[in-house]
Every structure is written in structure tokens, then in C-alpha cells.
């Protein structure tokens, strides 16, 4: 499903963010990526959705080697994965419905399919009644639910989340985690970078810890392992 082989990433300013990462993630797995700030967690995630290109090594997702993908092909790659961010990244001038529909318009779906699928995922994240609202009229938790809905609306095999609960209060964070569990239960692979110790320790899943650009720990039923 997701395979990284000897991945290195050095930024143009000389920062060595990843120093030889090897990892294999099975289809349908749920993986936490943890580690202190500046340890390479973000770069690891960014390489997965090809915002950053590795300096060396290969990253194979759904059978495509991201290190070799041409600039023009990047949109195609991104359509096969859902990406969720700490700051939601919703289009501010589009309504909830339009934000979710956008991911389907991009792949030129028929209006009928778009309507059905958008309402289906909005139902899943319990935002059907707010479909006509704009992002700034919603709470943080609701915005994040919209962004999750958008990421899964075209039914990608992988969902990648970069600190999805980072901006949310604990209670809302648990609601978001319920949705991720649901998505994972339906067979979607979930990779989530997080700082939330409580969540990692309560909903126990595979934990990959990154420090100094290397994987220092990889446990099937791990815990957070840091005191912060």
C-alpha cells in the first residue's frame, strides 16, 4: 500500500529533514506518526502527498513511485489520497457543500454522482444540515469535519492527516477521532501525524516515532512515549 525505501530529504537551505526512512504500511492499517517538533514528522507526511519531493529513495503509494512522478501527474496522484490539515484548508468563499463537491468536480464527475456522494459524506460527518453555510460560520471541529468529508468523498484508499486535532479542544478532538475510526473501519488506510498523547494512548494503533529524521520506534500497539 505505502512503502518508503531509503528516503532522504535535504532542504535547499541545508536542513536534513529525513535521513534514510524505511517503512511499510499495509492496506487498511491505522498508523500514528509521533515525534518532537522539528524531528521530520511534517516532511515525512509532506513527502506522502508529494508536496515535497525526496532527495533520494522511493515512495510507492498505490503502486506509483512518487519520487519519479512528473509535475503534471501530481494532481492524478493526489486524487487517490485524502489529505487533512491542522488548519483545515477549506476554500473560504465556497459553502460546505461546494467545498466537498470541489474534489469531485476536479475529476469531472457527473452532477448526479456529485450530489449523491457529497450528501452521503456530509451525513457521515453529521453536517448535512449545514451544507449551505460558509466555513467561517462554523466551529473549528465542524470545519475539520468538512475537510475530512472532502478528503474521503472520492473514496481514496489512503487518508493522510497532518495533526488534524492540533487546533481543536479535547472534546472536539475525540469527535474527530470517531470519524477517523469509522473511515478506517470501512477499509481505508489512515496515516496520522499527531501530538495528542491522550488519543494515541487511548485508541491504541501502530505508532511510528520519528526523531532526527529517522524512525526510532515502530510498534504495532504502541503508545505515545513522550512527556508533553
Amino acid at each position: 500500500m505505502i512503502e518508503m525505501i531509503d528516503v532522504w530529504k535535504t532542504y535547499p537551505n541545508g536542513v536534513m529533514a529525513l535521513n534514510g526512512i524505511d517503512v511499510y504500511i499495509e492496506k487498511g492499517e491505522f498508523v500514528y506518526v509521533v515525534g518532537p517538533s522539528g524531528a521530520g514528522k511534517s516532511t515525512f507526511i509532506k513527502c506522502m502527498y508529494r508536496e515535497e519531493k525526496p532527495t533520494q529513495g522511493s515512495i510507492i503509494i498505490n503502486g506509483t513511485n512518487l519520487a519519479k512522478v512528473k509535475e503534471r501527474q501530481i494532481p492524478k496522484v493526489r486524487r487517490k489520497m485524502g489529505v487533512i490539515f491542522q488548519d483545515f484548508k477549506l476554500l473560504p468563499r465556497l459553502t460546505v457543500y461546494e467545498n466537498v463537491a470541489f474534489a469531485l468536480e476536479v475529476i469531472e464527475e457527473t452532477p448526479k454522482v456529485i450530489r449523491e456522494r457529497v450528501m452521503e459524506v456530509l451525513d457521515l460527518v453529521k453536517l448535512k444540515n449545514k451544507a449551505r453555510m460558509f466555513p467561517d460560520e462554523l466551529s473549528g471541529g465542524e470545519q475539520q469535519r468538512v475537510s475530512i468529508a472532502r478528503s474521503i468523498v472520492n473514496r481514496p484508499p489512503v487518508v493522510i492527516a497532518d495533526e488534524p486535532t492540533g487546533n481543536l479542544d479535547p472534546e472536539t478532538a475525540w469527535e474527530i477521532m470517531d470519524i477517523f475510526k469509522e473511515i478506517n473501519d470501512r477499509g481505508t488506510t489512515v496515516v496520522m501525524a499527531t501530538h495528542n498523547k491522550e488519543i494515541v494512548n487511548t485508541i491504541t494503533k501502530r505508532v511510528i516515532a520519528i526523531e532526527g529524521g529517522r524512525i526510532v520506534r515502530d510498534e504495532a500497539k504502541g503508545d505515545y512515549g513522550y512527556e508533553d
Binding site: Y49, E51, R72, I74, P75, K76, V77, R78, R79, V83, K89, L90, L91, P92, R93, F102, A103, E105, V106, I107, E108, T110, P111, R150
Partner: protein, 297 residues
């Protein structure tokens, strides 16, 4: 691209214009103001050129024939003149016709010359028009060399000054219009850039969701075009109404004078099409250049 995607881009472009109301308004205003200036100056420039050409076309060479020449040779002489380089046409004017013309042009005072009719002091003449008014002096010199020609007149000195003035007027006009068009391009594309810079984040997000560059670019393309064209509407109305009014006044009050403005049609339709084109092209150019910067994510 599928039809429904084209439709989607159109809808998206107009929706975005509505939701970015003030920015759209700013862009349209910038286009309106600059195109208004451009169209006014263009109308003035074209008319200056037109009037200058009228004046220049009135310039003629008069070649007076030696009194000793016999009139049966005149046809041959006319042929000879017509065969000269840069000569457009040659007209024969007998001394009687010449005197009539003189008397008429002087009005009441001309009556005094009527007594000269029996003893005409003028000579028969050829009136020569050159292909380009600017060739007048050179042709006159050639004509003067011919032996049947007694004297050549073409308003020596005055003609040279006239050409200097008309040339200067044209050049100043062209520089002004070019300068204005460049200012317009700069101003309009900058305003449109501003509206897009504020949407940089949106473009970034679209790319992350898997939109291709083309998919992102289309609505901006349409929006830029629409903003430019909309901005051209008011200048077109103003210039059409205003020019018609000025044209009527000039024709009524100054109709007798030699000045004549360019007719409303085809000038106004041509100017309108030009304004729509400039507006549309600058709009598209402004939005595409700014989108391109943000597409490299």
C-alpha cells in the same frame, strides 16, 4: 474537457466575481478609467491625423507655361508631366480659368480684377498633385527644370512648415496613446493581480485536492476576460455619445470651414471593438500571469 466542466468554469467565474464583489468592482473601475482615457485620446489622434491629411492633400504645384509655347503642344507636355516620378495627377488650367478662380476666391475685392479679362496677365498652367504630399518640393524642382515651364509655385516655405506641424502632431499623438495603453496595461493587470493574490491560498488548496493547473486556470481566465470586457462598456458608451455630440456641433458651426471630423461610423464601431479587445486581452493577461506564480506548488 467535458461540456459540463466548461459550464462549471463559467458558473465558477461569475460566482467568484459576485463573491469578491469589491475586488471585481476595483478591477472594472481601473479598466474603465484607463480605457476612457485611451479611447478619448485615440479619437483625438485619429481626427488630428484626418485633418492633417485633408490639409496636406490641398497642397498642389502650379507650373506656369511660357507664353511663347503653342497650345497644340500642351497635350504632349501634360503627358510629360504625368510621366514624372511621384506625380499622381495633372490638370490643365487655362489663364481664363485661372483668372475666374482668382476673382472668385477674392470675393468682393475680386471685382476690381474683372477689367483684366480683356488683357489677362496670367499664364496657362498645369496643376500637379503628388502621390505623397511630402514629395511636393522635390517634384516642383523637377518640374521647374522643364523648358516649357516659366515658373513653379507651391507655397514654398509655408508647405515645409505645414508638414513639420502635421508630423509633430501625429508623433505626439502616437506617443501619448502608446504611453496610455502601457499605463493601462500596467494598472489593470496590477489591480487584477491584487484580486488574485488575495486568493493565493485558494489556489494552493485546489492543488492539494488534486486540481490540475488547467482546471484552476480556466475560471480565472474567464473572470479576467469578463472583468476587462465589462470595464470597456462604460468608455464605449461615453465615447459614442460624446463623439456624436461633438461631431454634430462641429458640422453645424464649422461646416463651412475646411475642417471635417471623421464620420461617426465607422470610427465609433472600430473604437468600440478595439476597446473590447484591449480590455479583454489585458484582463486575461493580468489574471493568467498572476495565477501562474501561484501554480508552482
Amino acid at each position: 474537457m467535458k461540456i459540463r466542466t466548461i459550464k462549471r468554469h463559467l458558473v465558477e467565474a461569475f460566482k467568484s466575481m459576485g463573491r469578491n464583489g469589491w475586488m471585481s468592482f476595483a478591477s472594472i473601475s481601473a479598466v474603465t478609467v484607463t480605457l476612457l482615457l485611451v479611447s478619448v485620446f485615440l479619437a483625438i489622434l485619429l481626427n488630428i491625423n484626418h485633418i492633417a491629411s485633408q490639409i496636406e492633400d490641398d497642397v498642389q504645384i502650379r507650373a506656369y507655361i511660357e507664353r511663347t509655347e503653342k497650345s497644340e503642344n500642351y497635350d504632349a507636355y501634360q503627358k510629360q508631366l504625368e510621366n514624372l516620378d511621384k506625380v499622381k495627377s495633372v490638370k490643365y488650367q487655362s489663364k481664363e480659368e485661372g483668372l475666374d478662380e482668382l476673382i472668385e476666391s477674392l470675393g468682393d475685392e475680386g471685382e476690381a480684377f474683372s477689367s483684366l479679362k480683356d488683357e489677362n496677365p496670367l499664364r496657362d498652367a498645369f496643376i500637379i498633385y503628388t502621390e505623397e504630399p511630402q514629395d511636393t518640393a522635390a517634384v516642383a524642382k523637377e518640374v521647374d527644370k522643364l523648358k516649357f515651364v516659366n515658373k513653379v509655385e507651391y507655397g514654398q516655405g509655408t508647405v515645409e512648415k505645414l508638414f513639420k506641424v502635421t508630423d509633430a502632431a501625429r508623433n505626439v499623438g502616437i506617443v501619448l496613446v502608446l504611453g496610455l495603453v502601457f499605463t493601462a496595461m500596467f494598472l489593470i493587470s496590477n489591480t487584477i493581480k491584487l484580486t488574485i493574490v488575495t486568493r493565493r491560498r485558494e489556489i494552493e488548496i485546489m492543488k492539494l485536492v488534486g486540481a490540475t493547473n488547467g482546471f484552476i486556470r480556466w475560471p480565472f481566465f474567464i473572470e479576467g476576460f469578463a472583468l476587462g470586457v465589462m470595464g470597456a462598456i462604460l468608455p464605449i458608451i461615453v465615447i459614442a455619445v460624446g463623439y456624436q455630440a461633438i461631431f454634430d456641433i462641429v458640422n453645424q458651426k464649422l461646416g463651412t470651414v475646411f475642417i471635417e471630423l471623421l464620420p461617426v461610423t465607422p470610427l465609433i464601431p472600430q473604437l468600440s471593438i478595439l476597446m473590447l479587445l484591449i480590455g479583454g486581452v489585458i484582463g486575461v493577461w493580468g489574471s493568467l500571469t498572476s495565477v501562474r506564480k501561484f501554480l508552482k506548488i
